[in-house]
């Protein structure tokens, strides 16, 4: 059989399999998959053995094909989804700081939440958004949502739906415009923040649903940042936390914390240390820690096991690669600075 034919065969098989599973899902005769603890441990051992095999192969001088690396990463991320193992989560100081700041807010405080990310970063930030909103709504904090990214308010809407679906939140009979409001997106990056410092309504004359700003009881009296008790920024890049800190915190003295993608988080530590940010959630584990603190487990906690496995695998790859490199006597020096 030719290479081409094999490839087509594999694609075809995947297609047929997924159609069957999909029909099963729709028809209800295939349910969710879950490994028992025993099976989970067996799977973990298998993953470990595969790593050992890779180490041995690499030490013998045969670098693995990229595709094997890829396949392995895929397995290490997918399999933990089905495992039933729990792990202990530890709270970092900057997450605690955020939680303490929130706890210090009296009921009725106005919290501004800016959604500055788009769907590609949602896996990291959506869990934070959901648990943050859920916490605020449960604790009678008034939530004002906005976005500096065009897709932000759409993400906010999804997060709100998730938060409102919580039975305890439902019991509170919260009302749009009174307990929470979504002001929508405004183009202009940091200039939006700057003008909000003077007048929020000028930037958001109408909310996401098209109602006029002054018709919304929650924000009618919110003139500018001085009426905001705490701000939380969910950020995946530019414009994001850096701009909020530079403009809203440095110039207008807004009290704020942030949730960032893990990539961005390291830069923000400088701001946390300098006191410009009150609390920081960094990446998936920031979300999981916050969920633990607030006692509202959500997606962050659910994804955390896969996250742990993925980290272990990457670390294993670094070790394997370097073990081979060190034993082979550092032959291949690269061009340039050699850093």
């Amino acid at each position: 059989m030719s290479e081409r034919a094999k490839e087509i065969l594999v694609v075809g098989l995947i297609l047929i399999l997924s159609i069957i599973v999909y029909l099963g899902k729709v028809g209800g005769w295939i349910g969710a998959l879950a490994f028992s603890p025993a099976v989970s441990i067996v799977v973990i051992i298998l993953i470990f053995l595969a790593l050992v095999w890779m180490l041995v192969r690499t030490l013998r001088g045969q670098l693995l094909d990229r595709r094997i690396v890829f396949l392995f990463v895929a397995l290490a991320v997918v399999l933990p989804f089905f495992m039933s193992i729990t792990q202990e989560i530890k709270i970092s100081p900057e997450v605690q700081q955020l939680y303490d700041a929130l706890e210090s807010l009296p009921p009725g405080s106005k919290v501004l939440v800016s959604f500055d990310y788009d769907p590609p970063s949602a896996p990291e930030l959506q869990p934070m958004a959901e648990s943050f909103l859920r916490y605020c709504l449960l604790n009678d904090l008034k939530v004002i949502i906005m976005g500096l990214w065009p897709q932000g308010p759409q993400q906010a809407d999804l997060a709100l739906q998730a938060a409102l679906a919580d039975p305890r939140v439902q019991q509170k009979n919260l009302e749009y415009g009174v307990d929470y409001v979504n002001l929508g997106f405004q183009a202009g990056n940091e200039f939006v923040i700057q003008r909000m410092g003077a007048n929020i309504e000028s930037m958001f004359p109408r909310d996401y649903t098209g109602s006029a700003y002054r018709d919304l009881p929650l924000v009618r009296n919110v003139k500018n940042f001085s009426n905001i008790d705490y701000a939380f920024n969910l950020s995946a890049g530019y414009p994001g936390t850096q701009e909020w800190v530079q403009v809203a915190v440095d110039r207008y003295g807004l009290w704020m914390g942030a949730g960032n993608t893990a990539v961005q988080a390291p830069m923000m530590y400088a701001y946390v240390n300098a006191g410009q940010l009150e609390g920081l959630l960094g990446g998936m584990n920031g979300a999981a820690e916050f969920e633990l603190l607030t006692g509202l487990p959500g997606k962050g906690t659910k994804y955390m096991l896969s996250q742990s496995f993925a980290h272990m695998v990457v670390i294993a790859f670094v070790i394997i690669g370097n073990a081979a490199f060190l034993t082979s006597g550092r032959k291949k020096q690269p061009l340039g600075q050699g850093k």
Partner: protein, 208 residues
């Protein structure tokens, strides 16, 4: 010339609350977004031109160029025909956004995970002291930021476990390096901006 005057004015506006300086910032943001919106016509026409040339000339992969043109029109036509409410839920535009654009961009983003893994297998080598430090810091952070790290170092006293070490690395040496970079960048930026404003640096508009 224009660059210099405009630049100087924009530096000064920060210090002068008096009209019209107080409004400059807001104006600039409006102007820039309007110019950018006009300029995308140039870009889009350029993309269409190059794709059309491929299709007409039956160059390699011209079929895909046709797909580009087709999918461009597929989203642009309902986008303009839909009027102001073009992206409300339920429109074809938002359907495309949700079920084509979103999965494509998030998947493109997600396959980075595979590249990261392969790079750590092949590229990150402890070639010298600097590279080793980089790897060690990465180790602490990667392990310390997931619960497994603490399970592995559970025998250590509280305060010395991996998550604590990771926090320490993030809060101190990392923050210090970050700070040096930030201060350096600010100064580099000041000097670059000054060169541009003074007209010493003109290579962006040609001319040495």
């Amino acid at each position: 010339m224009i660059t210099g005057i405009v630049g100087a004015v924009f530096v000064l506006q920060y210090f002068i609350p008096h009209w019209p300086f107080s409004k400059m910032n807001a104006w600039f943001s409006d102007w820039f977004s309007i110019v950018a919106a006009f300029a995308i016509w140039l870009g889009a026409l350029n993309l269409m031109k190059i794709s059309a040339q491929k299709v007409v000339g039956r160059k390699e992969d011209w079929g895909y160029a046709l797909v580009i043109i087709f999918s461009f029109l597929l989203i642009v036509i309902p986008g303009f025909a839909g009027g102001q409410g073009y992206r409300e839920a339920g429109t074809f535009f938002s359907w495309l956004y949700e079920w084509a654009y979103t999965p494509l961009s998030s998947t493109m983003f997600a396959i980075l995970a595979f590249f990261v893994a392969s790079a750590s297998y092949r590229a990150f080598r402890a070639r010298n002291l600097e590279a080793s430090l980089l790897l060690i810091a990465a180790f602490f952070v990667m392990l310390g930021r997931v619960p497994v790290g603490d399970i592995l170092t559970g025998f250590m006293p509280v305060g010395w476990r991996l998550s604590d070490l990771a926090s320490w690395v993030m809060n101190y040496p990392q923050a210090a390096g970050q700070r040096a970079i930030m201060i350096g960048i600010a100064l580099g930026l000041v000097s670059t901006s000054l060169r541009i404003i003074l007209g010493i640096e003109r290579s962006h508009l040609g001319g040495e």
